[in-house]
Amino acid sequence: MKKQRFFSIVLTALLIQTISARQITVGTNREYTSISVAVSGADAGDTLFVLAGLYKEAGLVIDRPLTLLAEKGAVIDGQFHGHIIDIQSDSVVVKGFIVQNVKKSYTKDFAAIHTYKSKHFVIKNNTLRNVHFGILIEKSKYGIIRKNAVIGEAVKEASSGNGIHCWHSTHLQISENHIQQMRDGIYFEFVNDSKITGNISLNNVRYGLHFMFSNDNRYTKNRFENNGAGVAVMFSARINMLNNYFGLNWGSASYGLLLKEINDAEIIGNTFYKNTIGINADGANRIIFTGNIFDNNGWAIRFLGACYNNKIINNNFLHNALDISYKGKMNGNLFDRNYWSEYTGYDLNKDNIGDVPYRPVKLFSYIVNQTPETIILLRSLFVDIINFSEKVSPIMTPDNLKDNRPRMKPMENNDKS
């Protein structure tokens, strides 16, 4: 009984709101020709429908809960004056606009769409062009950022901004956006409990995705290609990285995924294809790597200092120049049941598990980690000889750094997104 009454109250409230909410049309030869005038004339809960056309708006502040919908071809031009759409209220929806021309600044982060202390906002189907920052989220919660396109022309790190930049926020959902040629594709700083799904981040000057001090986030099914350096996850805990694609991050200081001071993460089902370094791990602890494919990378995984208690189980290592690179004489990581394309052992009992352990760290990759200049001897006959002798009887590399149950055949993986 009580439940029913509650529902009826809610329903009436909704009804009243829909009745009271007006739809205001903005366009040439209409009541309102400017969006900012329409916003100041609107009440909370109103919907502004913006017809196609060019609107020159500088600093369009939305300070009440409104829904802004655009007809196809509605362009908001910021004329290079700071933020363009500035959301300062809860429950704001911005949908379908083309937003362009944000001022470039070296001291302030001006964005095409900016939110500040907003909850339950929706930013959807917008195209952002010629912007400094694309979408800038500050101190906001429960936002949805979906199917936007941010196309930049960044050349240098210092003079460019990030595609989607989130700061001090929680519970964001960022999905199916397309970000291209910005500084960082997506940037998280002090952002918790958020999901990043199905985005495409290409050709960015720095990182495709960048986490700083952000915990309990999950990113799945994203595609990071040809960025300065794939994805950087730094100083964060409990990040889940599932089914992403890291490709073609190829350059002398480039990598697919950088882990720096990361604890308790899960890296599952990702594909690393043609990166100079697939995963560069520095101070990464208690991380689970399973079901990943490392294909044609320079290094598949490069462990620098202080990486302990990581579990590398059931991955495919295919045709990497160097599979694992490791520093130090002590190993606290577990390698088990992976497939290594360079494994040359045999399997007498035909259980698809090799009978001889595989040592993924070659002496040469060990030496290179100690003295980087020695890489110049790559593909020299001498290096092949010492690699072979180390393989036969390991002296320099940690004795227990081996995969005791290497697979004979690559692991089947149906999910190759």
Binding site: W250, G251, S252, A253, S254, T276, G298, W299, A321, I367, Q370, T371, P372, E373, T374, I375, I376, L377, L378, R379, S380, L381, F382, V383, I385
Partner: protein, 260 residues
């Protein structure tokens, strides 16, 4: 000189060994393409083979030819001919025939599998060019050794030793010195050390052409900065030429003094 060059060349062209050498590269090229039809990858594999094999074959073939054609050489020496003409002709004959086996042996499969339409054409040209250079260098070195020792076994021994030193031992010493002087800036030393070994120099020249060069990281960047510029390219090819010219000059100088 051209007449002697022609005689040596034709003599070698008729010999079984240059056919074997030619066929070896031909088969190698076809097998590579049979296993994967990716030209870029084939170039990388070939690099490993060429860098080790051309010096080895050049050395052994040079010594072998010199010792086996000794009687013919003595006959020529009895004629009113300049010594430098005789030996330069022989040297060029051997080097040209070996380079030809290499270029045609590898070139034919590559052309058949469409190198001209591939983006790897420049890498491939560099590869062949460097292979030919290595042949010229190591034939010259082996002629020197053969002139130095009348004893065949000694000559063979020393020429193999020379190859072993430049292909393997040199890199070992190089690696050791890099490890010992770990605390110092090493890129200049690394750059210098590669320049003084023709095999290392060729290896780096080819590596930098391929996209694997990104692996070389910071050190690679230093190298790229040096070899990537026209000046660096000129310096490295000039050095390869020095590696040809110097042994040839010494060889000619030796022949003038030697009592046959």
């Amino acid at each position: 000189m051209f007449k002697i060059l022609k005689y040596s060349f034709m003599d070698l062209m008729r010999s079984r060994w240059s056919y074997v050498y030619f066929l070896f590269y031909l088969v190698l090229g076809f097998v590579l393409f049979f296993l994967n039809s990716n030209t870029t990858k084939a170039v990388i594999t070939l690099m490993n083979v060429i860098i080790l094999l051309t010096p080895l074959i050049g050395t052994i073939f040079g010594v072998m030819y010199f010792y086996s054609s000794r009687e013919f050489t003595e006959l020529l020496l009895a004629q009113p001919l300049k010594r430098s003409t005789i030996f330069a002709g022989q040297y060029l004959g051997v080097s040209f025939s070996l380079s030809m086996s290499l270029v045609f042996g590898i070139g034919i499969p590559f052309v058949l599998y469409g190198i001209f339409t591939s983006s790897a054409i420049w890498d491939f040209t560099t590869l062949l060019f460097i292979g030919a250079f290595l042949t010229f260098i190591f034939v010259a070195l082996s002629f020197n050794i053969a002139l130095l020792f009348n004893d065949k076994i000694k000559g063979f021994g020393f020429s193999i030793l020379l190859w072993l030193f430049l292909a393997v031992v040199y890199d070992g010493l190089f690696l050791l010195s890099l490890l010992i002087f770990d605390d110092y800036p090493l890129d200049k030393l690394a750059l210098g050390a590669t320049l003084f070994n023709p095999i290392d120099l060729s290896r780096i020249l080819i590596l930098l052409k391929l996209d694997i060069s990104a692996l070389l990281g910071y050190t690679g960047a230093v190298f790229q900065k040096f070899f990537g510029t026209p000046l660096g390219m000129m310096v490295s090819f000039a050095l390869l030429s020095v590696w040809v010219i110097l042994p040839v000059v010494i060889m000619l100088f030796q022949t003038r003094k030697k009592d046959f």
